[in-house]
Symmetry: C2
Subunit: 451 residues, 2 copies
């Protein structure tokens, strides 16, 4: 949600744009914090975004804004810029964001832009482009502070003083041996608190949490959050430090992954919000609904097959939605709880039997209560017509919920054992299958006791 | 998910516990990182947890472990301890975690424990206990570095050197005026890079992001993540700094809130994982299912009311699940997308008409496609019996999905305008209402064209 300040900014900017008061917009956008501007910017429509971006005359603010925006939005703003203009902006951006942005251009343009950069910067970017977006390599910055471990604290302090703004997020100094291998780490506080004649080696921590460039971003997030780090070093196969991933980027990763998890639960695409349009919306949501639809078709076929029987006992059809819905929902709850529990480490895959047992028992207990209630409701409504209806709906409710809860819990556990992301089990196909479990059971009981 | 290291630790510890090899367990748990131990600990059963905790002889490790565990687990471990033993552990914990833990005891015990602490620590805790858990006051620590702004950098450095481990997460120094009011902030890097004869005032940043003790934790998370901060100062009404909230606690908040959001989506309780048992599971899940169940009862009543008509056209009942499911799902998708979009600032409440329009159009387009497909399927299956069935199911599918998408988007937008948390609109009552929209429309069309 937008903060009050951001809301005011949005209202002011849109009002002024409507009045074509461009000079006043320019004054305002140069004064606010870029983070606020970025939030407001994403809500403007495309033409407003282009106008506002053109009004920004300060290239440093433009670069900061590009860092904060979704790449699809950022690329739209500069896609018609000359390579030298883009190179100038890229130069001002931090290496991780610059890498993400530059990759959106075609290869020829990328080469042109890179050729306009200083050699060091070009090499850094070329290296970073090689990594996947969602790995430590794709998240890391190459600006960090590495010092030989046999240097004195005095020298370390001098190096920090000389580093200027370059190593923007400095809170650790990384200690390396003569070959450049990572051997230790010291926080700025520890460095300030050390005696000047100490060496870095004397004070450094040697039990280092580190990741590889190809480590998945979720694992990087886990390391940073479980060990309460501000940054984690990225080392290559020779244990040479090649970059660091900072905690601010990890917060973005966690937020993104959570948006993904939530959108997956209702079967929409994970990157829907990058560029939220009706077209994208339709494409993203179609598949999940397809599963529900086919589930509905299966029920239709089932009813078609039992049409003669059902037309004699039409009261039975009154329970389709509740039977289907309750087993589907309890199954989806189980699947979601297990998937989330696995993700945050509260459920462990080695405890398969006890976990699935817990969920099944939960489903059965809930099923007994709702089954009795449903049998009661069925008795009141249809008891005088078909005496067996309360029995069939009660039994079906209970059995359906027990089986669905069991299946909903078992499936993600088994997937995890097979090293498959268990999140697929909250997806459309499984959810629909869980819906249908109740229906099959219902028809089976109806056949047994009534037809 | 557990890391490989944690998985190995879990397997080793449980195996050794089963063999009663307590001494070996003790050796292992004293050697591993407390963060790893905490993750593994939460998966052990209650009696195993008690055994392992008793095997920890080092009080500092015990205190660290208590910090990392869920409070319900932590409290179970020490509930039978004497007040002096608890006071000793509380003393070793950071103030925010100590506050959370101590509040789990009854008032008498809390007073007893507090009376055993040093005056300063007691006063800090008494102050912190007054704040709600989910506010900045509940998250903050009272260990921070505040220095008069007219002091020299030399003095600031000396104070940092003298602070020892106390201000554990030092990366900013807060500058205060003669009355103790917060006037500026400087990072450790800036302090190291300054000239020794500079004063803090010369280098400090005066545009400070700060929060109040009663600021909601989600807002604190927003400030820290949007402005890429490592900590945010908490000030009282007189602008006196009373604590800081650090980024590591914010990561936990974000994770917790996300678990909440996901569990809410399937209608289970947000704190299910604090203490995951069958009893809690049942209680947490019952209400959401109740809404689905009542929805089912409404459908049953509806069918009861139209029993005579429906028994002549039993084919119509075959479409209950698909009509109900599709409008419910598309509505839930819209509600979820809008709620999440509002939460992460990608959807703005001032754009009500265009946002709801987008969602409605999406629902209608998807509805037309699925409506045509369903009409086709109905024609093949039942077209020879009742010629109007394809028309009725097709129209109902399309109209139901359009209306449900509109309602699903509109509802959270309106709630936000009324300053009510829009997340309730992904809750059970609304979801069930969206389910039923399709059914009402279906019966209406059936009455119009067939009955």
């Amino acid at each position: 949600m937008l903060s009050h300040k951001q809301q005011v900014l949005l209202n002011t900017v849109t009002k002024l744009l409507r009045k074509n008061a461009h000079r006043r917009v320019r004054d305002i956008i140069h004064k606010v914090h870029t983070a606020d501007l970025a939030v407001v910017f994403e809500i403007l429509n495309e033409s407003q975004q282009l106008v506002v971006f053109d009004l920004l005359t300060n290239n440093e603010i433009r670069a900061e804004l590009l860092e904060d925006l979704e790449e699809v939005v950022a690329i739209r703003l500069i896609k018609d810029y000359s390579s030298s203009e883009i190179a100038e902006l890229i130069n001002l951006m931090s290496t991780d964001d610059a890498t993400d942005l530059i990759q959106e251009f075609d290869e020829e343009k990328v080469d042109e832009i890179l050729s306009l950069l200083k050699k060091d910067d070009r090499e850094d970017l070329e290296e970073l482009i090689a990594y996947e977006d969602d790995t430590a390599g794709g998240l890391m910055v190459t600006e960090f502070m590495a010092v030989r471990c046999d240097e004195s604290i005095q020298t370390v302090l001098e190096e920090i003083q000389a580093s200027g703004d370059d190593a923007e997020m400095v809170f650790y100094t990384y200690a390396v041996d003569e070959d450049g291998r990572l051997v230790g780490i010291a926080s700025l506080r520890e460095i300030i608190q050390a005696e000047e004649e100490d060496t870095l080696e004397d004070i450094m921590e040697t039990d280092i949490h580190k990741v590889r460039p190809y480590t998945d971003q979720e694992e990087v997030a886990r390391v940073i959050s479980q060990y309460d780090l501000l940054a984690v070093p990225v080392v290559d196969d020779e244990n040479m430090i090649i970059g660091i991933v900072t905690v601010d980027d990890i917060i973005d990763v966690i937020r993104e992954e959570n948006t993904e998890d939530i959108l997956k639960l209702v079967g929409t695409d994970e990157d829907l919000f990058e560029d939220y349009s009706v077209r994208k919306n339709i494409i993203a949501r179609f598949p999940w609904l397809l599963a529900t639809w086919f589930g509905g078709i299966v029920v239709m076929k089932l009813v078609g097959a039992y049409e003669d029987q059902l037309s004699k006992f039409v009261a039975l059809t009154a329970f389709f939605p509740v039977i289907l819905g309750m087993s589907g929902n309890v199954g989806q709850q189980s699947a979601t709880i297990i998937v989330r529990g696995l993700a945050i480490g509260k459920v462990d895959v080695s405890r398969l039997a006890s976990t699935v047992g817990k969920e099944t028992l939960t489903g059965l207990v809930i099923g007994v209560i709702y089954g009795l209630a449903l049998a009661g409701a069925a008795w009141v409504e249809f008891g005088d017509e078909v005496a067996m209806i309360p029995l069939v709906v009660g039994l079906s409710q209970c059995a359906g919920m027990g089986v669905a809860a069991m299946a909903g819990a078992l499936f993600p556990m088994l997937l995890t054992r097979l090293n498959i992301d268990p999140a697929v089990s909250t997806g459309p196909l499984v959810t629909t299958s869980l819906d249908l479990i109740g229906m099959w059971i219902y028809i089976a009981f109806a056949t047994l006791f009534i037809f």
